[in-house]
Symmetry: C2
Subunit: 242 residues, 2 copies
DNA sequence: TACGATTATATGTCTAGACATATAAGTCAA
DNA sequence: TTGACTTATATGTCTAGACATATAATCGTA
């Protein structure tokens, strides 16, 4: 065995190599543009095979921390802090995670042929049936968010008969539609009469708006608008360098 | 050779395996909980070594599309669509990308000993000097966002002498501080007098607020608050399943 | 000087093995 | 039925090679 490791190496070797390099990048010891040691140098330094250091470097490349260029070497990338991971939790999960009591209330549910506005909102061209749902989520009996959702029955026929009086449509979809892609748009509005009443806030108070459009392999599933009281709700997006 | 491949396989084998599996997950053919074929089965199917299928599966696991469990196998994960990638672009880049003329205006700059409020905002305990900057970004001469920033001089001493009358502090920092981590908080407020004037909107109009807190290896770099007119600005977060 | 051909080299992918290890599943006893 | 023990097995990590390929550097030539 040519393992030069210290007695107790908790993580595996390739993870240690990965962590070593990541630390030097994150502390600024190796600034953007700096060339990482060549694979064969790392092989010598750690006394392992090339596949092992290659795995470490490949993962760093996949995480966008470094850039690998044939013949030239591997280089620390310039941070693109325009992208951050935004946590948009399932509302029930979010509220219970805060240790508060989750409440749900169905305000309205309609099954109808898609109107022009519906089709526009879902981004579909063909006419078809949709379910329109309005409901409210609360935390400790205080209104937390109101939800206005459209489900395309052509994509999710089962939703026609689902009982949304108990289960929020978001949770129902999460359990009945396998895997989706989504796009979120975040904006701010002031509460109109209807919103103010639903959220129990003053007319003209700020609201955070999340519009989510969900599809699976080019098929629309659902479009939803969530309204939060803007001064009490916050979205947190964390960027971690890797 | 038992390669079931079509004649021309452009990508490498492990990428094809990865793409094959990803497609089945994204189309719903393999729903959450479904067991992916064992490595030795994929080895037989693709006629390659285990390391090759292992690389494909490892990448899918790193992307959270599947979960690997020793002795049990690999399984399609339940989509956690609470996480999405939020693009928070450098404002100048964002505006020029829209094909509009970028404008920048320094409103105020102060170098001072950190007040209690400053220390609280930066999350530091020790007293020290800070630079406080207020500025405005515009697109086609229309106010786009106002920025209120604090830079910790203990971490970025160079910022004391930087010229922020031409270059926005965000761009300056991006080029002078190597690699950082950040946390963003998004909320909504209504414009007060000062904000309304700076953004040229009505008092009481909705504003989108982004608070960004940036650090490098436990050292605070900067804290910034960006205010956007809420009805004209939208943040887009896209979730891609992998 | 500029441009085209050649060469050296770092990464990209892959193999056919190996041993480690967590754990699902089966076995047996209390 | 329950708990403790054993076993089988799928993944996790690693090796010592191999050939492919893009490209930076060098060299030669117009």
């Amino acid at each position: 065995m040519s393992l030069t490791a210290d007695a107790a190496d908790q993580p595996t070797l390739y993870k240690r190599i990965r962590a070593d390099i990541e630390k030097r990048i994150l502390t600024g010891e190796w600034p953007p543009g700096h060339r990482i040691p060549f694979e064969h140098e790392l092989v010598a330094r750690y006394g392992c095979s090339r596949m092992t250091v290659n795995k470490a470097l490949s993962e760093l490349a996949q995480a966008d921390l470094i850039e690998r260029r044939r013949r030239a070497g591997s280089f620390v990338r310039r941070p693109q802090h325009q992208s951050a991971v935004l946590k948009i939790a399932d509302i029930r999960a979010e509220i219970t995670a805060l240790g508060r009591a989750y409440g749900y209330e169905l305000i309205g549910r309609k099954l109808r042929a898609a109107t022009a506005a519906d089709r526009d909102r879902l981004g579909v061209k063909k006419a078809g049936k949709v379910v329109a749902i309005t409901c409210r989520h609360s935390a400790d009996n205080v209104p937390f968010a109101v939800e206005d959702r459209l489900i395309d029955l052509a994509s999710v026929p089962h939703a026609a008969t689902a009982d949304f009086s108990r289960e929020p449509p978001g949770s129902w979809l999460l359990h009945h539609v396998p895997w989706t892609e989504a796009e979120h748009t975040i904006s701010a509005i002031v509460a109109d009469d209807r919103t103010a009443e639903a959220l129990d806030i003053a007319v003209g108070a700020p609201c955070l708006v999340i519009d989510r459009y969900t599809w699976r392999s080019a098929r629309t599933i659902t479009a939803v608008r969530l309204l939060y009281p803007g001064d009490s709700h916050r979205l947190v997006a964390r960027f971690k360098g890797g």
